[in-house]
Each structure stands twice: as structure tokens, then as C-alpha cells.
Symmetry: C2
Subunit: 271 residues, 2 copies
């Protein structure tokens, strides 16, 4: 089914061929869950978009206008996925951003994906991707439109595991192809990889970090090796759409669905 689409708030199916989002991936995106006409953690999505615009030196779209456009796309929806892309707009030839760049808001609404409920309840297998994430502090953490690494990683397999684990070029564990990653060594502690060199700083990751701190759980954001991950008691992945998937298998190792993943799953279901 084709998604419903809008550009700058108007129904549209196509984008000008001069848009810098196409030419350079010069833009950002947000993937928003819609539940009963509402977008959970909307303010966090806007925070990230604003911070991304700042780091790329792009204007942030007018927030009340954007809110209005998202409301219109959301209000009659029980369950849907919105993908919002904000590009640096049209330009001439060459990398240099136009002085008076007019950002473009592209909005697509997709049906809610039908992931099996068992993935959230009984957990998923995580395969280890060969494709590595390059290191670049200038882009790390941003949800920008340069996503060839994820495309190549996700193209590595077609059946079996619902998600793949991505390492950076130094061999550190960073994230899933479309999710962030948490591990627990037990004893009420949570660890999530630092994203200052590579990776996307997800809204669900932030929510879980905040809820864990509030619950008095020790959370650490740091470098994580594959060996350290494999030796952990619990592993789970998360994003705004899937919520939390406990990981029950990585490579040849098996893991149970433990108390930390169950807690995180409850947090993910909050509005």
C-alpha cells in the first residue's frame, strides 16, 4: 500500500529533483509512532530534530506549523507510523548550502507494521552484521539521511533474525540496524553504547535512560566490546516503533527474557 504523503503540509506524491535531500542526503528524519491519534514522546522527537538542525546548520521548521501538520496526519489514526524528513531544500549544483536555504518538510504515513507479538514477549535473535559503521563525531548521534551503512547491513540477510547488530570499524558494538541496544550485566545495572563516534541517538533509548535513572537503576553510557556484550546477563533492543525486543540469541549464545527487558518494555508502553 502506498503511504499517504505531504510536502510542506500539502498532499503531494513527488519531490523536486533539485532537492538536496536526494542529491546529498542533506537532511534529517524522525520516525514517529501514532497511537490512538497521539504521538508518544513528541517533545523528545522535536528536541532531537532541533538539535540535528543545529548541528547541520539548517533552519528548524516552524514548530507550531509542524505540530499542526503532524496533528492533521495523526488525529484519525488508531495506529500508524509517520516518517518526517526535513531536508535543506532545493539548491543548485555543488555541496555548498544555499545562503537562503528553505528547508522542505516531507511527511509519509505508513500502516503500522505487523511484527509478531512473540518478538516482544519471547524475544528475538540478533545476527552480527559484517557491515561496519564508520566513525565520524561530526555526524554521530544524528538521525540524518545518509543511511547507506544501514542499507548494506540490512541487505546481508533476508530470513531468520529480525534485527542485526552493528559494530563500528574499531570493533565496538554500537546498535542494531534500526534499533538502539541495551545490555545488563545483572544487579540492577544497564549499559548502552556511547554514540559519540557512530550511531543514531534514538528517542526510545533516551526514554529508557531517563526512566531507568528515575527508577534508581545504574545506567552507564560507554564503549562496549562484542565480548562484553556476549557475556552480559540480558540484552534488548528498542526503538519508537517496535518498543522493546528482548534478545534471546546472539551468534551461538542464548539469553533469557530478564527483569530489565521486562521493565523497559513497560516503560516503552507509556505514552
Amino acid at each position: 500500500m502506498s503511504p499517504a504523503c505531504w510536502i510542506d503540509g500539502q498532499p503531494a506524491e513527488t519531490l523536486p529533483l533539485t532537492d538536496r535531500g536526494l542529491h546529498y542526503g542533506d537532511g534529517l528524519f524522525e520516525t514517529l509512532a501514532v497511537r490512538e491519534g497521539r504521538i508518544p514522546r513528541f517533545a523528545m522527537h522535536m528536541d532531537r530534530l532541533r538539535e540535528g538542525c543545529r548541528r547541520l546548520g539548517m533552519a528548524m521548521p516552524d514548530e507550531s506549523q509542524l505540530r499542526h501538520e503532524l496533528d492533521l496526519a495523526t488525529r484519525d489514526q488508531t495506529r500508524a507510523v509517520l516518517k518526517l524528513m526535513v531536508t535543506r531544500g532545493s539548491g543548485g549544483r555543488g555541496y555548498r548550502p544555499p545562503v537562503e536555504a528553505q528547508v522542505t518538510r516531507v511527511l509519509l504515513r505508513y500502516p503500522w507494521p505487523d511484527y509478531p507479538a512473540s518478538w516482544m514477549q519471547q524475544g528475538v535473535e540478533l545476527r552480527i552484521c559484517r557491515t561496519r559503521l564508520g566513525l565520524n563525531p561530526a555526524l554521530a548521534g544524528l538521525k540524518h539521511l545518509n543511511r547507506l551503512e544501514q542499507v548494506m547491513a540490512r541487505a546481508e540477510w533476508s530470513e531468520g533474525a529480525p534485527e542485526g547488530l552493528m559494530l563500528d570499524t574499531e570493533g565496538r558494538v554500537i546498535e542494531g540496524t534500526m534499533t538502539n541496544l541495551f545490555v545488563s550485566p545483572g544487579q540492577d545495572r544497564l549499559i548502552t553504547p556511547a554514540l559519540d563516534q557512530a550511531g543514531v541517538a534514538g528517542v526510545m533509548r533516551r526514554h529508557i535512560l531517563e526512566q531507568a535513572q528515575r527508577a534508581g537503576i545504574g545506567v552507564e553510557t560507554c564503549a562496549l566490546t562484542l565480548d562484553e556484550l556476549l557475556q552480559c546477563r540480558e540484552i534488548f533492543v528498542c526503538n519508537s516503533i517496535v518498543g522493546v525486543w528482548p534478545v534471546t540469541r546472539v551468534d551461538t549464545r542464548s539469553y533469557g527474557v530478564g527483569p530489565m527487558a521486562q521493565l523497559a518494555r513497560q516503560w516503552a508502553e507509556q505514552d
Copy 2:
């Protein structure tokens, strides 16, 4: 002036919003010079595109059809720039490439840029960009659509130097924001940075490498530090549009327009 545009050979001004070129930068491009109705080094451009498609796991567009479309856009043009983008086409939500992906050919024709002739004759200043190139062997060398690093580097300055020098995150010299780089330590020798970790393997770079070998000039493709670059006798940058620009200033150091840049400039003018 708006460029003339085509999609899959048909005049068009817009692209479907579901195209993976926009969503992920999932595609490649070629920048082709047009001179008197012809495209110099056309076969080299097709070689690179074919190799890029192979590495990204995309189908190469039908080459005779592509040749025909480029001919139509070229034949009445005295001087122009063609930008050909080949994307993995439309898809649903998610990074995984569609099993039956239909690649999209996007072609834009721009007026020839009016760079001052003095840049080719008397040389240019090269500034040193703060933005670094991340390392990723899986994508290195490809002229793919993930170009945020170049955008951010080119956004660092607006006046003065026509080109900026980009280092990788390890501090090695790689290329200009839109050009490849050669240095000469003198004595009929040429060095160009290896592009197995970062950078775009340009067609003009390949042409100069081949011509230098043919002329019996020692060419080396290897890692190059900024210190090594600064201590060289001659420096020049190149691409298919600018040809060769001798570099007469980097940071506080000055360089002359030497015999190697003059030779390379002659090679660049060949058809």
C-alpha cells in the same frame, strides 16, 4: 537557472517521495562534462557506475539505453554539466532493499560553471577543512549519495579559497571537497592518497594516473599525512569539470605552478 531534468529518459521535474535515493541516499552519481556534444572519458564513468552498482548490490541500468538518454541530453550542447543519479528506486518503509528493486535514472543538465580561468592558470588556495571524513572500507571510493561530510566541509567557508582539503578521522589527507588530490615531491614522481578507507575515486584521478604511467612518471597511491603534503614541491587538485587546478597556497605555505601540474592540465584537456 533551473536545470533540464529527466527521469528514466522522460522529461520530469519531480521524483516519487518513496524513492530510496531520498530516504537513505541509496544510490550513486556521476558528474559528466559535456564538450561539443561529447562526454570525455565516458567509458570510465560507466566503469565506475557499474562497479558502484556491483558493490551496493544494485542492478546496473541498461547501458545502451543509458547511453541513448545521455546522447539526447548532450548532442546539441557546446558546454554543459550532466549529473546522473542512479537510485535503488521506490520501496516501502525500512532499510532492507526490495527484492525486485527497479533502479531509477535521474538526469540533470546544468550550465557550465564559470570558474575564473586564472584558477587553472595561476592556481588556487586550498583551505584545510575541520570536518573529517569517516573511515568505511565498504563505501570508500564510491561516488554514492551519502554526502553530508562534503556538505558540512563546504559549509565551513564562503569566501576566498575555491576548494578545501579534507582529512580523515585519523588525520590522513584524502581529497578536496569536490576534487581529488595529487602531490609531487619532485623528480618526476606523483603521489595520490589511497582511497580504500575514505574518499571518492574520481574519473579524472584515474585518467591522470593512467597518463602518468604511460609517460613513465612514477606514481604512488598511498597514505599521505598533512606534513608530507605541506613539504611537497607541487600540489594540484582535479575533477571532470574543473580539469586540473594547481594549488599555490595551503595554510601559510606557498607553492609554484610546476611541471607536473602543467602536464596533468594537458592530460585533462584530452578528450
